[in-house]
């Protein structure tokens, strides 16, 4: 009986580990983008989506080489 409980708990734990290790699937309105690792304190993974707002107007009166900036509101 004890062995059955132990094995069941072990299988459940392994399943949780695999689920975590598989990362996070990023989805957008255009469909699935892919599986990425979560943002951590020291790494922003490929696939991270950020929402922001333009700090200045940009128009067809701009020229090649003009710089612009976007204030990041939040990673999505």
């Amino acid at each position: 009986m004890f062995h059955k409980i132990f094995i069941t708990a072990g299988v459940a734990g392994l399943g949780s580990f695999i689920a975590c290790a598989s990362g996070t699937t990023v989805r957008s309105e255009a469909g699935d983008i892919g599986s990425v690792s979560p943002v951590t304190a020291d790494f922003i993974p490929a696939g991270t989506t950020m929402l922001g707002r333009f700090d200045q107007s940009i128009s067809t009166s701009n020229h090649d080489g003009d710089r612009f900036s976007v204030a990041v509101a939040t990673p999505k």
Binding site: S28, D42, F43, A46, M50, I58, G65, P75
Partner: protein, 132 residues
């Protein structure tokens, strides 16, 4: 959280075409190349995947992300031209070769050819960024 409040992305205009005649397209290409946070700048590789163009009156706002509907990308404010559509703009001579997302700003003088300050934008990193 690795991306704190106050973080900013910066980039450069890499192409502009202003409509010369009615029906011609207004397009602009923007390349985001740096992430600024914690008083440091990090090289950034990514794509603009959506722009919500909000004009002064709040009218005619449209958000289209990586979608070309019936080849009519030129008439959709904020639409991102990709694939064959983007290639067509380059081979058609509207833009030279270059990096960045091509954003439609409407046709001719019927639509505003401006992304006003405060317009929202969605940007996706294509390469991981180690934070030192």
């Amino acid at each position: 959280m690795a991306i704190p409040a106050g973080a900013a992305l910066t980039g450069v205009v890499t192409g502009v075409h202003s409509a010369k005649v009615p029906g011609d397209r207004n397009v602009i290409r923007l390349n985001v190349n740096a992430l600024h946070m914690n008083d440091r700048a990090y090289p950034f590789s990514g794509n603009i995947s959506g722009v919500r163009v909000e004009n002064a009156s709040g009218a005619s706002n449209k958000t289209i992300r990586n979608t070309v509907i019936g080849g009519a990308v030129g008439t959709a404010l904020g639409a991102i031209a990709t694939g064959g559509e983007a290639a067509g703009l380059i081979t058609g001579g509207l833009l030279g070769a270059g990096a960045g997302a091509i954003i439609s700003l409407g046709n001719g003088s019927n639509e505003p050819a401006t992304i006003p300050a405060g317009s929202s934008v969605t940007i996706q990193a294509t390469q991981g960024i180690p934070i030192r």
